[in-house]
Assembly symmetry: C2
Homo-oligomer: 238 residues x 2
């Protein structure tokens, strides 16, 4: 949650409802999350997720709060935010009951130009490769942990990792992203077989000029990038 | 959402936050959802999901709202409610912005003694076997559709259907529940192979006395009933 100073007297905030946004990227072989340093109390000078209260009459729906606060605080503009979970109780915010609807997305590092925006003294990608940063504001550490579990689970049935790759990529590129998110080494043969079975890649006919062995460049099948969920069809349907 | 009359002047409601609850069961070979007929406006005399506003100072967290309203309106007491999704915008409720956190669960038909409780003129299991009932209050039709998609997806990676079965059941019993939820016929051989692979059943050594061929009675492995999520471990971990 960010700045809740009201500079325009006509604009009112609903201070019982907020959105918080978990943006992950991969940079320098590490999985990182986008955090802001809070310029105001509560939790002044603490790292927190970007987010903030609903602007009454301005935000037409929950996702509007998330998209607006993400841009206002960090400069990042997400193509697609997915709802993660909603947190709400008497204790998570010292100011009283706040319901926070959390969203998440994966974004390529070089597509984001960070700013220290509204209510924020610093905006930074922080590594979550080995552990989630400690002493975050509110329950934001728990929110990040849940978002991590969710993307790890989604890797098994969706092409979510493609959001971190360029338009064209090799299977080793893709496996590296999977390994960073899963936090473990994968079996190369098994990985290739699983990806092939999932059937969402197209061979571009080109080869990468990186590395010793020239690997095939793939791209995502059309439409697949947008659908973050596609069941693998375990069941025979009549 | 239910009755928002306040009979005790000391108790206040937060009328911008509600919980709605989607309870499914299987009865007479049909998948059914628990609905209430609203005794008050808005949407008086319309069928709706059980639910209602946060009672300030009484509900300590979001799940408290859901558990309290489910019992107050319908008499049903859920062992475990899972958060589905959060709906919130300016238009879904004629009274103004309401954020509704939706929960869902599967319950055995004979474990629920229905009442027409607080703010409700009638409580009923309504079939969703062929289609979701029309003209429901608010956006409750959309909420039910999302809950249906979620349990259909969960069938592929969790023993969620076990919540609808007794302590001991045959594979044909289990397949019947899967077919009702999926809304399609399954391949018997493929179903048996998938269930075996998922490895969450124990052979009780007993046989069912129903039907022509005496089928083996199974029970869930200990602990499995509680975990509504277990990834199938597609990836090799080091």
């Amino acid at each position: 949650m960010g700045n809740n100073n009201i500079d325009d007297a006509a604009i009112k905030y609903d201070t019982s409802l907020s959105a918080d946004i978990v943006i992950f990227t991969v940079h320098e072989d590490e999985l990182k999350v986008l955090l802001v340093n809070r310029a105001h109390d509560p939790f002044k000078d603490h790292w927190a997720l970007p987010g903030g209260f609903r602007k009454i009459g301005i935000d037409k729906s929950l996702i509007d709060i998330a998209n607006r606060r993400l841009v206002e605080e960090t400069g990042a503009k997400a193509n697609y935010l997915e709802q993660l979970y909603t947190f709400g109780d008497e204790k998570r915010d010292p100011r009283g009951w706040v319901t926070s609807v959390a969203y998440f997305a994966l974004m390529p590092y070089d597509k984001v130009d960070l700013i220290a925006g509204d209510g924020v003294s610093e905006t930074k990608w922080k590594s979550v490769q080995n552990r989630v940063p400690r002493k975050l504001a509110f329950d934001h550490g728990d929110i990040i942990k849940m978002a991590l579990s969710r993307i790890q689970a989604k890797l098994e049935y969706s092409p979510i990792a493609a959001h971190l790759l360029g338009n064209e990529f090799t299977l080793p590129d893709m496996m590296a992203v999977y390994e960073l998110i899963m936090g473990c080494k994968l079996d190369k043969t098994f990985f290739r077989r699983s990806i092939k079975k999932a059937d969402f890649l197209i061979d571009t006919g080109k080869k990468s000029d990186k590395g010793f062995k020239k690997a095939v460049l793939y791209k995502m099948k059309k439409g697949v990038e947008k659908s973050l969920f596609f069941p693998r069809g375990l069941y025979a349907r009549n």
